[in-house]
Symmetry: C2
Subunit: 211 residues, 2 copies
Amino acid sequence: MPIQNESIKIPEPALRRLPWYLSYVKLLKSQGEVIVSSTQIAKKIDVSASQIAKDLSYVDINGKTRVGYDIDELISVLETFLGFKKSHKAVLFGVGSLGAALLSDSGLEQYGLKIIAGFDVNPAIVNQQVHHIPVFHTDEFFERNEKIQAEIGILTVPPGYAQEVSDYMIRGGIKGIWNFTPFRIRVPEGVVLQNTSLYAHLAVMFNRLGS
Amino acid sequence: MPIQNESIKIPEPALRRLPWYLSYVKLLKSQGEVIVSSTQIAKKIDVSASQIAKDLSYVDINGKTRVGYDIDELISVLETFLGFKKSHKAVLFGVGSLGAALLSDSGLEQYGLKIIAGFDVNPAIVNQQVHHIPVFHTDEFFERNEKIQAEIGILTVPPGYAQEVSDYMIRGGIKGIWNFTPFRIRVPEGVVLQNTSLYAHLAVMFNRLGS
């Protein structure tokens, strides 16, 4: 029973699994395969075939019973569905070590994220470029973003400023915040928040290694 | 009922919440506070006071009833518990755009992760340095890691090589893999795996923004 009505919201866990299927199917393509079944994907990834079929039912693709999905079509449909084929404008606040590292990661652009500008208060960085991306003073954000029209804001400021800068970004037009700080920020309803907790992952790693 | 037996394994969700408490409490300290209660933390973070008290019961700290935790002690105990005060040796495989970005993020070291070397097969990078970290040929890993003795391997190779390189790292002595690729790798029992799915976070962001 494929659900192809775009108004049906795909649950976040399903959405998070789709990139796994995409990368596995791309690997199959590079190995010369043309058709893949959900059973075949399930064998390589710790997700059941029925779950995979259900997850893919949110995406506009039709598998053929007992045959599978056309790999080229599946890749194209998944990339479109996940937004990786579009270019989404973003700005980044806090051009410190992690912020500068993200500005220099051109891989993000291949997945649809185009960082247009960085913002910081450090005079040593303001009005410089990092990996060809201009860095402006934080105070200029409202004015700059009228032109840039970025909806996504990447947050890499020191944790103590995370909430304040997040509020500021939202006042300047940001609709989605990608928080890399270990600070648990709050956003108003309607604003999308994604937390990438590098340090929480490290903490789990260290703890489980018993080190 | 504080659980202070180190043999009791803290559940992963609790472990992941501890860094939030740590950064909030550090903020309070910077504002001159000296005592904090779980109720006070709960007000700022979307976690109930009883959950916070329970999470903190895994850590070797004693709050005083109706008073709270000593902030300096709480910071110190949390940092130690989370492993941020030690230096954990790591190697990184795949010095591409994201890999090089992580090598240049000195912030990781402040959280206890010391990247000793990068490994790659690209002749343009092998035997060079990135942010003062040497990059060696992947083939040299077994030999090099006898000296380095790294237990943590950061995986930033192209997704199609993720499984193969992960297996290789484990054969060379790696006990914990921090996977930044969108590929769903499998590891043998006993090996710790943490996935940081930048692209899954992006996909959720794009989808929820409806863009």
